[in-house]
């Protein structure tokens, strides 16, 4: 196995261990989703506790959590398509050059 492949496998392994380890070791602090809320929301809660009222509301909000995850998926997909397209293109072009 060459070093490039090894690096990628190790990288993915480290990330998986990090994420899974965190989920296993840290008590989520609440039932279900509560314990793993977003840090952004945590900061907002803290501001709420000072008695501050938001003075402006989002012009449009996703009607439900499912629809919100839809848009997060769309965001990731747009990015992943672009990355995948160019990585594939570059790799193919490099292969062509080498076989000539």
């Amino acid at each position: 196995m060459n070093r490039a492949t090894l690096e990628i496998i190790l990288g993915i392994a480290v990330i998986v261990i990090f994420v899974v380890g965190t989920l296993m070791l840290i008590p989520s602090g609440g039932e279900g989703e509560e314990g793993w809320g977003g840090a952004d929301g945590g900061a907002a809660d803290m501001i709420d506790s000072t008695g501050y009222e938001p003075w402006f509301n989002p012009i449009w909000e996703p009607p439900s959590g499912e629809i919100e995850s839809l848009f997060f998926c769309v965001q990731t997909a747009i990015g992943a398509i672009i990355v995948g397209y160019f990585f594939g293109y570059w790799r193919g072009a490099k292969g062509r050059k080498e076989s000539e």
């Binding site: 990288g11 952004d40 501050y52 938001p54 449009w60 996703p62 919100e68």
Partner: protein, 231 residues
Amino acid sequence: MHIMEGYLPIEWCVLWALLSAPCVMYGLWRMKQMIQQDRRVLPLMAVCGAFVFVLSALKIPSVTGSCSHPTGTGLSAAFFGPWITSVLGTIVLVFQAILLAHGGLTTLGANVFSMAIAGPFVAWIVFVGLRKTGKVGLGLAVFVTAAVANLVTYTVTSLQLALAFPADGSILSAFIAFAAIFAVTQIPLAIIEGIICGLVAKYIVRVKPDILKGLGVIGDEEIAKIQGEAA
């Protein structure tokens, strides 16, 4: 790091917007110039922008029991510098503010400042500094750069909130409280982001080194070394 819509008093919204706008404008101008000079940088720029899209959508659980997301701006900061990164980051933040109600239009200036300007700027200085020494390889340098971009972003967000909401009149104690929410959660994520960006940077050198060489990020000798590892 998104400050939610309406959660920043209007004077701060205006201040951060005024600070961010010229940087993004200058970034747009630089971007246009760079593309006119050499259209071949366009795909790499798109990949860097796409990276911000992907990484900032991934909400990853972290040690404090809450979730947060990487910023993905480190790769672009290392390759293109902070100004062009500010444009790429702004595109993502506008997408999230409009379609996801994540972040906001009133807080856009503040969010752009932390994620697309301050983080990449500090990270870029670190990257240039590390590379100047001539001892740090590209993969490691990008790893550090991406992690720094991530951590600085969240530190700046904490500072922005602390300035607007000082606890009992003390900005410092408010900063510590906000940083406890953001920065600590962020440390493992910064490491993950660093690993991903470092690997991707090396992969790009293996398949398409000429753009990076054109940008002055890497020299022939190191390209040969990194490509040799893949053989």
